[in-house]
């Protein structure tokens, strides 16, 4: 057997929970290898380890038969591992040319060799199809698709004689079909010259078309590896979703009540396709979809944080209808939002647990000159710490010292204290440990049983399947389908989540 370009043996990595479990993979020389899996399957972690951004806990990597254990991205670059990342690794204030050649800027004695820089950059830009833009243009002036092409040009600019492995993470997510086709032609051409490629994508048709072989990752374990000629997109989806083993246990709660939140023909700049949905009293509605499917954008829109283009968001309480057009109005009328990024959109850093607990409830006091007494706040906070079993030293402890799970509980306390009844939750259990997760799940069920209306967006399908009464699937910022409890299967949900990525080529 020939030596593989890259051989991965028994690779394991855990953060709060295991992400990769003794995963193995072989990438042959001159082979384009597809890697697919649902969100959280471990693809990004695998890529990050290979490209030197992360250290594995255990496992062996070999590059051309030699042990490969890079200390950092720079060493991996030196060994010929090129990466086009999904979260573009570009600098907004530099020109296209400087971005493309950032890691290998041509030098003249003490200064930048501008002529070589521009020539080299122009060559790469032509190759990926960025014809109409000058290489002097600042990156910040480009559209998302153009930025993605720059990222690709940057990865492809590595000297072909040196480049061993090219890793592409969702390279076509913002591209049109002709742009994607062009990229695929380049990839095939480079592969024919001996380059090995790892191609990660949600667009299954693209993967099937461009790759020689494909591996499917699920829950950190490799499910199958096969030549793409032997596979169909249905095979891939089945492998990604696993057998129909997951528990579809009925939590036996009563029928949900009247409509509490109604969204009608809503659209915004971030969520352009008009959407209508309803959430009832005593109901948990799940929002499923791949990364970038528009879940967060939709929740922020409903909450009134962004300007809407059209449509209406209405809260209905005892027959009275209240139209929501701003976040402050939403909060004043009993809505809550726990945003995805706890650090930048949730907690007040370096401030006490007490301040973090009471902030949303202060509006109930009516006037901004009303007294907000520290004693009273600490008392409220102490009650919440007791009620939600928040592990901390007390109301005056700085919130940053708490674990992620306990910080999340403080955010729950904030909205419980504000007496919220309509809850929008974006990845409510991401990055927290198992015990906190169970506690939060129980909290969510309690809110529902007490007549709350909840919308939960989550990348974790298992979480939605255990919690929700209905699941709405988004794909590429469009509502695709709604499934009732008992009528769904993981496979159906995944197929819906992938649907807009597959039909895109037909457009």
């Amino acid at each position: 057997m020939m030596t593989a370009r890259l051989a991965i043996e028994g690779l394991s990595k855990r953060f709060a929970a295991p992400v990769l479990k003794r995963t193995s993979l072989r990438i042959e020389t001159g082979c384009v290898h597809g890697l697919v899996g649902e969100n959280g399957a471990g693809k990004s972690t695998l890529i990050n380890i290979v490209s030197g951004l992360l250290k594995a806990d255990e496992g062996i990597l070999q590059l051309n038969g030699k042990t490969y254990d890079p200390h950092g991205r720079k060493e991996a670059l030196g060994l010929g591992i090129a990466l086009a990342s999904q979260e573009l690794s570009l600098i907004e204030n530099l020109s296209i040319a400087e971005n493309i050649l950032l890691t290998a800027l041509p030098q003249k004695l003490l200064s930048l060799d501008r002529r070589n820089l521009l020539r080299e950059a122009n060559r790469m830009m032509t190759e990926v199809g960025l014809f109409h833009i000058s290489s002097d243009t600042l990156l910040s002036q480009l559209s998302l698709a153009e930025k993605q092409l720059v990222e690709l040009a940057k990865a492809l600019s590595m000297d072909p004689a040196r480049c061993q492995l090219l890793i592409l993470d969702e390279p076509t997510s913002a591209l049109t079909q002709p742009q994607a086709d062009r990229l695929h032609a380049i990839i095939r051409q480079r592969a024919a010259a001996g380059l090995s490629v790892i191609y990660v994508s949600h667009r299954l048709d693209d993967v099937l078309q461009v790759c020689d072989s494909i591996s499917v990752l699920r829950d950190g374990e490799m499910q199958l590896t096969a030549p793409s000629s032997a596979l169909t997109s249905k095979d891939l989806i089945t492998a990604m979703s696993g057998e129909e083993l997951f528990r579809n246990e009925d939590h036996g709660h009563s029928e949900s009540g009247d409509v509490r939140l109604r969204v009608k023909n809503f659209s915004s700049a971030d969520y352009p396709d008009p959407i209508s949905l309803e959430c009832h009293r005593g109901e948990i509605l799940g929002l499923a979809g791949l990364t970038g499917s528009g879940r967060s954008e939709l929740l922020h829109g409903i909450f009134g944080l962004v300007r809407k283009h059209q449509g209406e968001v209405t809260l209905i309480e005892n027959g009275a209808e209240i139209s929501i057009d701003s976040a402050s109005k939403a909060v004043a009328n009993g809505m809550a939002l726990i945003a995805e990024d706890r650090k930048s959109q949730g907690i007040f850093s370096n401030k006490s647990v007490a301040l973090n607990t009471t902030m949303a409830g202060l509006g109930k006091l009516g006037s901004s000159l009303a007294a907000a007494l520290p004693k009273r706040e600490q008392q409220i906070s102490a009650e919440m710490i007791e009620r939600l079993q928040i592990k901390c030293e007390g109301p005056l402890q700085v919130i940053d010292r708490l674990s992620g799970g306990n910080q999340q509980k403080v955010l729950f306390a904030r909205w419980l204290q504000a007496e919220a009844e309509v809850w929008l939750l974006d990845e409510p259990t991401r990055g927290i440990d198992v015990n906190a997760k169970i506690a939060i799940h129980n909290q969510l069920k309690e809110l529902r049983d007490n007549g709350g209306a909840l919308i939960i967006a989550s990348s974790e399908l298992e979480e939605l399947i255990t919690l929700c009464d209905r699941i709405l699937v988004l794909s590429n910022r469009k509502a695709i389908a709604t499934f009732e409890r008992g009528r769904w299967s993981k496979e159906k949900i995944l197929a819906a989540a992938f649907s807009e990525h597959q039909t895109q080529r037909a457009v």
Partner: protein, 321 residues
């Protein structure tokens, strides 16, 4: 377990109080140093010199501290002090309005400047640093235009505000500024308004998600800063007995320095009015003490600058330990 928690709470509380305690100790050390080294530091002359200069800087620093806590900055306060003084002087001497009305007009002029700053900064989302930098020039220019670039002599009718009251030994202006310090500290620590300023300065996005409409608060805090600069203009005019369009040059920098010495963060979200007031005292004591030691003007500036940098260094060290 329970005692542990109480102990932890006490420790936390001590830490919170420590912020102000720390600079208070620094102030006392400074006073002790000058009373030993300078012969007559404790004379009534020094004291009244310090007390008479304090009020204007104090009220301006209150506004500055509130703005800094909300995550902004107000570079226009020095010019607004001059503008307010100019309006008072012209209203009183040229237009012949009663002094009380003239004073009110000066304060309102300050509030208007603050309102423009606030609306441009929050509703139109212009960078507040640039907006108030513009207002620094506009305010000074208006002060020159209003007075025709002349110092308008007002005389004894306004001076009682800055002169010590017999029984108390301090001026009405000083009492007023002290009252405003207490009022502002209470507003900051014990009202919803204060909580919201801290929240917005700490994390504006999280504040919005918590249902706070940030624009009115960010506007109000600049209006307050403008009004207080207007009051500062009144006090400064009373101290000088005249309205001088060149007054309070660079006062914004002293106010920022006092706030920072008092533990206010330029990044927003953290600060204390009482701390800032102690910062004002430190700056004043330092300047007068050095003058008494016969230190030259250039050295005075150099030492004051070093003290400001030292204060920030100590602050960094405290928040990391």
């Amino acid at each position: 377990m329970n005692t542990d928690r109480t102990a932890a709470t006490w420790w936390n509380r001590l830490n919170l109080a420590f912020d102000e305690l720390f600079i208070l100790i620094a102030l006392l050390l400074l006073i002790a140093f000058f009373s030993v080294t300078a012969d007559n530091f404790f004379s009534t002359g020094t004291l009244s010199a310090i007390l008479s200069q304090l009020p204007a800087l104090t009220v301006v620093t209150i506004g500055m501290t509130l703005v800094l806590i909300s995550g902004g900055i107000d570079l226009s306060v020095g010019s607004v002090v001059a503008l307010s003084g100019a309006v008072i002087g012209v209203a009183f001497t040229v237009l012949g309005l009663p002094l009380f009305v003239a004073a009110c007009l000066g304060i309102v002029a300050g509030g208007c400047a603050g309102l423009v700053n606030g609306v441009l900064g929050s509703y139109l989302r212009l960078p507040i640093f640039i907006v108030t930098l513009g207002m620094l020039e506009v305010g000074r220019g208006l002060a020159y235009m209003v007075t025709g670039s002349q110092t308008a002599y007002i005389g004894p009718s306004i001076q009682p505000l800055a002169l010590p009251i017999d029984v108390l030994g301090v001026s009405p202006a000083f009492l007023l500024s002290l009252g405003l310090v207490v009022l502002a500290q209470l507003a900051l620590t014990r009202t919803v308004f204060g909580r919201y300023l801290i929240a917005i300065g700490t994390n504006e996005q999280a504040a919005k998600i918590s249902g706070i409409r940030t624009e009115p608060y960010l506007t109000w805090v600049l209006v307050i800063s403008g009004l207080l600069a207007g009051v500062g203009g009144l006090m400064n005019t009373a101290y000088l007995g005249a309205s001088d369009p060149n007054a309070a040059l660079g006062l914004e920098l002293s106010a920022i320095a006092a706030a920072v010495i008092g533990g206010t963060s330029l990044m927003g979200g953290r600060g204390s009015i009482v701390g800032a007031f102690i910062g004002v005292l430190i700056i004043s004591v330092l300047q007068n003490g050095l003058a008494q030691l016969g230190v030259s003007e250039p050295s005075k500036r150099l030492i004051t600058g070093l003290v400001i940098i030292l204060a920030v260094l100590l602050d960094r060290w405290r928040s990391h330990s």
